[in-house]
């Protein structure tokens, strides 16, 4: 047994933390308020090698390395969850289908600039009527000459408004359930493509969009992977994304915890710092314990993934526990701040809103429980 990070990982963690605290943290409040993404963070992250963590050097990457990716997600989310989310999407679903299933030409055209932060990728799977039940994708892709014609709608598309390309799942064969789904790379300039931003509770710097396709032409060479096998392609990499959401949850929980700990030491009521009261002490003790446990679950799953071992159950457990944990921690951290916690002047209000999405995206907590019970042979 060895619970220590390697020397390289420690250095990486330090560098990521410095970048996050220096360049992301000061922007958090302002961009949450503006509901806008500071786009220049992308080329800046690319320049520092932070956008190719899961990919090999030949494409400009620094990996593959799930532990490093988790460290990066944790440190950036600790600085600001909304801004971090854009960078995390770029390191995962915004690029992974291209790396895993794209032709060499598509990799050169889209993946390489994405790793440099010069092109932003979006991932469009969910539809208005298709959430947890991914195999029910309704958007259609009809073959016509050298193109596919896409019709339908996608929603909750991460990085959708600022994206320079989008990875889109559509049905190439009608009514075939898990079979018959194909992944496409779509450029927003394509005719028949429109997009609209969505307003939301938290991670407000990150953009999330709704896409509409009306006879949108996509050239055949933009198909990622095998025609009709898209569902299996997409499901083969979900573990990694779940681990990363777990890591983001840990990072956000640390931010809330550290802020509350500081406040408990400074705020005085009844003649002493509130941290001297058992009621507050026990809250902070529980929060610290829960963060530690979630972090262990996340890094164990990341470690297994890097060893190439099966980790469906571990990834779901890490995501489920960490995402529910961060909501409990954010709740108590806000509570420790009393009235100030509810106000925009302290970051707790933002942390509390940001935490909520962790239990929904990349498979809701309900779906994680189903996956875990299936892994138990039920």
């Amino acid at each position: 047994m060895d619970f220590e990070l390697s020397e390289e990982h420690k250095i990486f963690q330090r560098t990521a933390a410095q970048f996050a605290q220096k360049e992301i943290a000061p922007l958090g409040e302002e961009y949450d308020e503006k509901e806008e993404y500071p786009r220049w963070i992308f080329p800046r992250s690319g320049e520092l090698g932070f956008l190719g963590i899961p990919y090999p050097e030949q494409y400009g990457g620094t990996g593959p390395d799930t532990i490093a990716l988790s460290l990066f997600a944790e440190e950036t989310t600790k600085a600001d969850a909304g801004i971090a989310m854009g960078l995390v999407v770029q390191n995962t679903v915004g690029t992974s289908p291209i790396y895993n299933f794209g032709s060499e030409e598509l990799k050169q055209r889209y993946l390489v600039p994405a790793i440099r932060g010069e092109a932003i990728g979006a991932f469009a799977l969910t539809e208005p009527n298709v959430g947890s039940d991914v195999s029910a994708v309704e958007m259609s892709a009809r073959e016509e000459g050298e193109s596919y014609i896409l019709n339908g709608a996608k929603t909750f598309v991460s990085s959708g408004m600022m994206a320079d390309y989008a990875i889109v799942a559509a049905r190439t064969e009608k009514g075939k359930g898990h079979e018959g789904i194909t992944i496409f790379l779509v450029e927003p300039q394509s005719s028949g493509f429109t997009r609209k931003g969505l307003k939301k509770l938290g991670i407000r710097a990150q953009d999330i969009a709704e896409f509409t396709f009306e006879d949108c032409h996509v050239p055949k060479e933009n198909v990622l992977g095998e025609v009709g096998k898209g569902f299996y392609h997409l499901m083969s990499t979900v573990q990694k994304t779940r681990i990363v959401v777990g890591a983001s949850s840990v990072g956000l929980a640390r931010a809330a915890f550290e802020t509350a700990l500081r406040y408990a030491k400074e705020r005085r009521q009844f003649g002493q710092p509130i941290g001297k009261f058992q009621g507050i002490q026990f809250k902070l003790a529980d929060m610290a314990t829960e963060i530690e446990l979630a972090s262990l679950a996340v890094y164990k799953a990341a470690w297994r993934n890097d060893k190439g071992e099966q980790c469906i159950k571990e990834a779901s457990m890490a995501k489920l526990y960490a995402s529910e944990m961060v909501n409990r921690v954010a709740y108590q951290a806000l509570q420790i701040h009393g009235g100030y916690g509810y106000m925009r002047e302290y970051p707790l209000e933002r942390y509390y809103r940001d935490a909520r999405i962790m239990e929904i995206f990349e498979g809701t907590s309900e779906i994680q429980r189903l996956i875990i019970s299936r892994q138990l042979g039920l």
Partner: protein
């Protein structure tokens, strides 16, 4: 034992609900998205039902409603628009204060405009350094040449930005602690600064920081006696806490309504999600908890109506309701999946709005200490 509402209470609840659904609900979404403060015109629409001063005797302009009846109306209002509830019930509590402690002259001067919604009231106790520990307030009131000179800062004051008449609790003699405080009636024209404070929810009911710098208040604006300021305010805490249970029940009901509607219509894996055991269990828990918090609230309001002590019951109702409504809002959001996180469905707002109440009217941490003190006979704070 009678666990049923009276015929009259059921009728009032029904009438109020119909009115709110028809006249108020259509306004909510747009105004919340635009973060536009509640207008006096809107507040005035609620007056015929007794939302302002309804608890007062008829000769004082009230409707002699029981606490239970008034709180049932508050529940319905919270179900539709928690921001509007905040504006209305704070103004209402200022009316009660003036009625209970004011001189005849003060009642005549301040109550009519509050009763007809021309003026909006606020109550200022909390300060930047004074939250749970209310006895250590720092805002000073000094009597100089027949005028009170007010200096200090008040925090998180509902209606503080738009309000016209406020009750400000200040200390007149620091050495006497709780016995060295006074309540002053302060009007906007007397000159203080109000800085709006942005917050997570209830965005159409702005909160303010109020800054008093040598603010002059006429001597006759003293409400009650010097030395009683804080005690007068604390007398209303039981009814305020009982009311919070009804606010929570209203929002919980709104969450249940939204979740049931969505679970029936949203189809995944070939059937409405309401057909899955997981969603059914969530809905059952939500409905059960909503009933339970309503019953605890009714227990407290019943004791209030009978004039019996209810400190423990009011704290328990507040504690239970505010924590469980959060669970209910969380599950309602969860049932909506990704849509629940967006502003296209109302649960996103319910989730933000109701978060305040584990803090307001005494944090739940304080409620636990007070309940335990009552049970154990030992105080954990002094």
């Amino acid at each position: 034992m009678d666990m049923e509402l009276s015929e009259e209470q059921r009728m009032i609840k029904e009438t109020v609900r119909r009115f709110l659904e028809k006249e108020v609900r259509p306004l909510v979404d747009e105004q919340e998205k635009a973060v536009r403060p509640i207008s006096k015109e809107l507040v005035k629409k609620l007056i015929p039902f007794g939302y302002l001063g309804g608890l007062l005797p008829e000769e004082a302009g009230g409707a002699e409603l029981s606490y239970t009846t008034y709180f049932l109306m508050i529940e319905e209002l919270s179900r539709v628009w928690p921001s509007l509830r905040a504006v209305v019930s704070i103004s209402n509590s200022v009316l009660t204060h003036i009625h209970d402690y004011g001189t005849e002259a003060q009642r005549k001067r301040f109550m009519p405009s509050l009763l007809c919604g021309e003026s909006i009231g606020f109550f200022a106790l909390t300060e930047p350094n004074v939250g749970s520990d209310t006895s250590s307030i720092e805002t000073r009131a000094t009597l100089v040449d027949g005028r009170w000179i007010l200096n200090g800062t008040k925090m998180f004051i509902t209606n503080g930005v738009e309000g016209d008449i406020g009750i400000v609790i200040a200390q007149t003699d620091k050495s006497k602690g709780i016995n060295g405080t006074a309540a002053l009636l302060v009007e906007r024209k007397m000159g203080y600064r109000a800085r709006p404070i942005e917050k997570m929810g209830l965005v159409c009911s702005p909160l303010a920081e109020l800054i008093f710098e040598d603010c002059e208040v006429p001597q006759e604006n003293l409400l009650g006696k010097v030395g009683d300021g804080l005690r007068q305010g604390l007398k209303f805490l039981n009814s305020a806490r009982a009311m919070v249970a009804f606010i929570a029940a209203g929002v919980a009901q709104a969450c249940v309504d939204a979740a049931v509607e969505y679970a029936k219509n949203r189809v995944q894996f070939g059937k409405p999600i309401g057909a899955f055991q997981l969603i059914q269990a969530k809905i059952s828990d939500m409905v059960t908890l909503t009933s339970a918090m309503r019953l605890l609230g009714l227990q407290a309001s019943d004791l209030l109506d009978k004039g019996k002590p209810c400190r423990r019951e009011a704290s328990m109702a507040k504690l239970f309701a505010t924590e469980n409504v959060l669970k209910i809002a969380e599950e309602a959001l969860q049932i909506h999946g990704g849509y629940g996180y967006t502003k296209e469905f109302p649960v996103e707002r319910y989730y933000r709005d109701i978060r305040y109440f584990t803090i307001a009217e005494g944090t739940n941490e304080m409620q636990r200490l007070m309940i335990a003190r009552d049970v154990l006979g030992i105080s954990a704070f002094n």
